[in-house]
């Protein structure tokens, strides 16, 4: 399919790049990315991927926009308070780029639906805020051979890594099991600097774009950490573990399953 003059103008800064070109832009148009969590990480990632012209973007989140979200979740605005996050996110994404198909999933991602959700997509972006969800997404992506970007943010710190099937280690290779429910505070309890979501979520979008256009080196086999107070990035090598319970040579995890979530972290249904 040929680009219209309007598309050539919209994507001109991409197409001019040798690494993208018309071919890369067409790959972006044909790509399907699933973003789990329309929060601090998902917000910038969804905006950049929509702006980049990723043809189909799925966004999953069960929550509604809350006043306390707006300090960092830049895809939502004050008039959106009370709206489903996925609807608010879809509106913002399509306002930037009406060409993008946005699929919304207003639900918690659990073992019951995760395999079906990821099946339709080429790349998954984990923008969740809790360990049970992160392990669930990891297991589902490993089991269904989907590349995905893991990320986490808290206070002035952030980290991310990218899993590519058959290549690097998975999240479980690095962190075998979730920490005990009360050992690590959540963002709600510990706080997070708003721009941290912008930094790390944008890096996740960058990984997704690089994966789609097939350029550069992914954070596959390494964990990138960012300390904003020291303004330091560190790239830590992560080996693949042959004894990993999900991606090792004799896996014991053969299906996605849910860890129990700390009750205080679950909002009552409203």
């Amino acid at each position: 399919m040929a680009f219209s003059n309007e598309q050539l103008e919209r994507y001109s800064r991409h197409i001019i790049l040798k690494e993208v070109g018309a071919k890369g832009q067409k790959k972006l148009q044909a790509a399907k990315v699933l973003i789990i969590g329309a929060g601090g990480l998902g917000a910038p990632a969804a905006l950049y991927l929509a702006a980049a012209g990723v043809g189909t973007i799925g966004i999953a989140d069960a929550d509604a926009v809350d006043l306390s979200n707006l300090q960092r979740q830049v895809i939502h605005a004050t008039p959106d308070i009370g709206k489903a996050k996925v609807c608010s996110a879809k509106q913002s994404m399509q306002a930037i780029n009406p060409e993008v198909q946005v699929n919304t999933y207003q639900c918690f991602v659990t073992a019951a639906n995760v395999m079906e959700l990821v099946a339709d997509y080429d790349f998954v972006l984990d923008g969740t805020d809790n360990f049970p969800a992160k392990f669930l997404i990891n297991d589902a992506c490993v089991l269904s051979a989907k590349p995905f970007s893991h990320a986490g943010i808290i206070r002035f710190q952030g980290q991310l890594m990218t899993y590519v099937p058959g290549q690097g280690p998975c999240y479980r290779c690095a962190f075998q099991n979730p920490p005990p429910a009360d050992a690590v505070p959540t963002c709600r309890q510990a706080g997070v600097i708003g721009a941290m979501g912008g930094v790390i979520g944008s890096l996740q979008a960058m990984e997704a774009v690089k994966y789609i256009i097939g350029q550069g080196d992914l954070l596959c086999g390494s964990l990138l950490t960012f300390d904003a107070l020291k303004m330091e990035f560190r790239k830590i090598k992560l080996p693949r573990r042959d004894t990993c319970a999900v991606c090792g040579s004799q896996p014991t995890i053969l299906a996605a399953f849910d860890y129990k979530q700390a009750a205080c972290d679950l909002k009552p249904a409203t």
Partner: protein, 85 residues
């Protein structure tokens, strides 16, 4: 004479309907559609496009063959698509 050489044109594109930087982008995209060795004829306007587009395409590694004045404020630029690196 070198400027009398005739080239077989494989494809044509008109970039007089867009402005910088889309002029170059439109030409680049049209070239990417061709196979290596094929020749694209680009109709472009006098002024900025005729100055910048041939240079940008050369920078991309393509071979600029000929620039002809159409005497109506437009030019026709012939470019050969080179191999991708």
């Amino acid at each position: 004479m070198a400027d009398r050489v005739e080239f077989a044109i494989d494809e044509t594109v008109d970039i007089t309907d867009v402005v910088c930087p889309v002029t170059f982008v439109k030409a680049k995209v049209a070239l990417e559609e061709l196979d290596a060795g094929q020749i694209l004829a680009i109709r472009l306007s006098d002024g900025e496009p005729v100055v910048n587009v041939p240079r940008s395409l050369k920078d991309e590694g393509h071979q600029v063959l000929k620039l002809a004045d159409n005497c109506d404020g437009t030019y026709t630029l012939l470019v050969r698509r080179m191999e991708e690196d």
